[in-house]
Amino acid sequence: MLDNLGSNLKDALRKLAGKTVIDRAAVEELVKDLQRALLQADVNVKQVMQLSQTIKKRALDEQPPKGVTAREHVLRIVYEELVALVGQKVEVTLGKQIILMAGLQGSGKTTTTAKLARFFKRKGMRVAVICADTFRPGAYTQIKTLCDKVHVPCYGDPSEHDARKIVREGLAQLKEEVIIVDTQGRHALEDDLITEIIDLNEITKATHRWLVLDAALGQQAREQARRFHEAVSIDGVIITKMDGTAKGGGAMSAVAETGSGIVFIGQGETIEDLEWFDPNSYISRLLGMGDLKALAERVQESIDEQDIDVNAMLSGKFTLRDMYRQLEAVNKMGPLKQVLSMLPLGGMDLPTEALDVTASKMGKYRVIMDSMTATELDDPTVLNGSRIQRIAQGAGAQLEEVRELIKYYKMMKRTFKGLKGGEKGMQRLMKKFGKMG
């Protein structure tokens, strides 16, 4: 979301490293970088100014508690203020409920409705969808096709023009626990349509009214959100199209305006691309503070314990065999870069070339390692010219590729060693933020 924010902040924070007194110039620079990043991410201009003033004031006025360095103190303030910006965590309950979807034209309501239907169904709920979009041609076909894919019943009638009637009849007929009502796209200036959604909210007595917003939405987000909130009192925001390059800052402004939080994030066009949003983990990751909870969940979800031994890796005993396991695990767990972003690395920079290894290259590396003997895997130092030649022949690879693999291994080993060095500082940092959470 605010990817460029991460690196800007890390640079600015590095300037504060080791200082016990807050350096005004460094804080001002940090605030400026922060403003720039937030404005580029489409966060509302007024909000950005307010936030940066608060951070500046707090950073300069508040005395860091004993034993806390200036850097940690400022980082903590930035963390708290940014968490406040993205809103509270919205709990999604798995009970009987009716969800009313609202949003502008083309924000992705219908696709998101199908994704939500799949989400609740996978959690073991009985789900149904009502198509209340009576305006856009093809809307019913679209939601019906998507619902059929996940085997969820879809109520609708493309020849009926009264959305209220469809919803009333749909509710009478459907007996499922979770009912999601997809509505027509509308914007705040279309009075008839605003009246319609107010009516639909009354008819459904909806448990949740979620506002679907495009990540690319700019300064308008706040105003639109305000008027939707006035009409039906929005209690959650879903940001869609986060798989593009848009940063979703407009949607964050909408969150502040409605006093709700981000519920889900849509990350792609297929029906599984929906992620549950946790503001704390998100900001932690953004600031390089790590997200051990998410990492633990991810690890538990995708790999067996024997697959990857993080402790062994961090202790510096990192062999080619570990790397082989790691490459295999990566397939199940997602890109290494993403996994490492969950570790509390503080402002540490990891060599990006070590992390940006493409999937095809990973495959090639595995083939090469398959041609190595057990001794070579356990102790890569034995690798010499003739061994490399043998391995290359066995794997059907070029000599350079084998050498490249060894280079990559060495880089990874160094990286993990570096992590170990920073461990102490990291732990301290984690403890601090642990107290807050």
């Binding site: 720039r36 404005l39 580029q40 991410a41 489409d42 201009v45 007024k46 502008l104 034209q105 083309g106 924000s107 992705g108 219908t110 305006f135 856009r136 041609p137 093809g138 809307a139 019913y140 076909t141 679209q142 939601i143 096709t145 998507l146 914007h187 705040a188 200036l189 495009d214 990540a215 690319a216 939405l217 700019g218 300064q219 308008q220 105003e223 639109q224 199209k241 798989d243 593009g244 390059t245 848009a246 940063k247 800052g249 407009g250 066009e269």
Partner: protein, 353 residues
């Protein structure tokens, strides 16, 4: 339309005028004391060959005096404009002009205004008005007359619509169809969005309502084939214009962008129209640049202008790719489309409202 931006620009302009008005008399008074002393060596000053650029960068007090005394001009200092430009910056940002574009426009206004000389008698109003409107017009470029474009090209004229998901490509195609019909052209539509569920039904219903043929294959088929067939159909039936729909796609998906490039190679469209929404923020610049780079674009259509956007996206997109705006979409009906006239928009933005 674009009311907020207009108000912001208007108030900033007023301030700019005010600041120059206030500052000039001050400048005016000071020199009068010194000027007598300076009068002694005016020749010296004139003789030293001062290149224009050096003068512009930092106008010395002597330059100011020389120009005041000899040419009856004022030099507008950078300091005069800085404060107001800060306010203008906020105005542009709040109007959704992307961050990078805002910085570029401001740099231009600053360069135009600071250090420039103003003749006594020329109104400050016209200086500020010109600087702002030059900057905005420079960004927006010229409009396109689509009807003239079609008349000048060999039939069928092939127009391809591209853009990211949910910007309103299909609805825009329906509106442009109606617009062309009203101008006496015959149209055929190609249902090139074979990916999104319901997309073919959507364009098919539009075609039926507008009374134009829609060439379609099944969901999931090759869009290039669909559009190829559409062009063939237009040739065989002597139809004037082919409007090709495509599936929305993100500019960071190489495969989907390659697919678009393939469509372009095979169909060889006369005009590629990039559709984006007027409510988009900073991302408008990034994706427009990517689309322009990987598949090219000849014109821009901006949709959802009725959502009360502040007009910044038009400036952002036009600035990013340097292509003209063809149409703006202003609602859900078939007739809610307007040809875009940059002069009118800029005049409107800077008008004394």
């Amino acid at each position: 339309m674009f009311k907020a931006l207009k108000e912001k620009l208007f108030s900033a302009r007023k301030k700019l005028e005010h600041s120059i008005e206030v500052n000039t008399p001050a400048q005016n008074e000071k020199p009068q004391g010194i000027s007598r002393a300076e009068q002694i060596h005016p020749q010296q000053e004139v003789e030293t060959p001062a290149p224009e650029q050096v003068k512009k960068a930092s106008p010395k007090i002597t330059d100011k005096i020389v120009s005041f005394v000899r040419d009856r001009e004022f030099i507008i200092s950078e300091k005069d404009v800085n404060d107001i430009l800060d306010e203008l910056e906020m105005g542009l940002l709040e109007s959704d002009v992307a961050f990078s574009v805002t910085e570029a426009i401001l740099a231009r206004i600053k360069a135009d205004l600071s250090g420039s000389k103003r003749k006594i008698g020329t109104s400050v109003d016209s200086i500020v008005r010109n600087a702002l409107s030059d900057a905005l017009l420079g960004v927006l470029g010229e409009g396109v007359d689509i009807c003239a474009f079609i008349r000048e090209h060999e039939r069928p004229v092939k127009i391809l619509f591209t853009g990211v998901n949910g910007t309103g490509k299909t609805t825009s195609i329906a509106k442009v169809t109606r617009f062309l019909q009203k101008n006496g052209f015959s149209v055929v539509l190609g249902a090139g969005d074979t990916f999104r569920a319901g997309a073919i039904e959507q364009i098919d219903v539009h075609g039926e309502r507008l009374g134009v043929k829609v060439i379609q294959h099944q969901e999931g088929s090759d869009p290039t084939a669909v559009l190829f067939d559409t062009v063939e159909y237009a040739r065989a039936h002597k139809i004037d214009v082919v409007l090709g729909d495509t599936a929305g796609r993100f500019h960071n998906r190489a495969n989907l962008m390659n697919q678009l490039a393939k469509i372009r190679r095979v169909i060889n469209p006369d005009l590629i129209v990039y559709v984006d929404e007027a409510v988009a923020g900073n991302d408008a610049v990034i994706r427009a640049e990517e689309f322009a780079k990987s598949v090219g674009m000849d014109a821009i259509m901006l949709t959802k202008v009725d959502m009360d956007p502040k007009g910044g996206a038009a400036i952002s997109v036009a600035y990013a790719v340097g292509k003209p705006l063809l149409f703006i979409g202003t609602g859900q009906g078939y007739d809610d489309v307007m040809a875009f006239n940059p002069r009118l928009v800029v005049a409107d933005l800077l008008g004394d409202a």
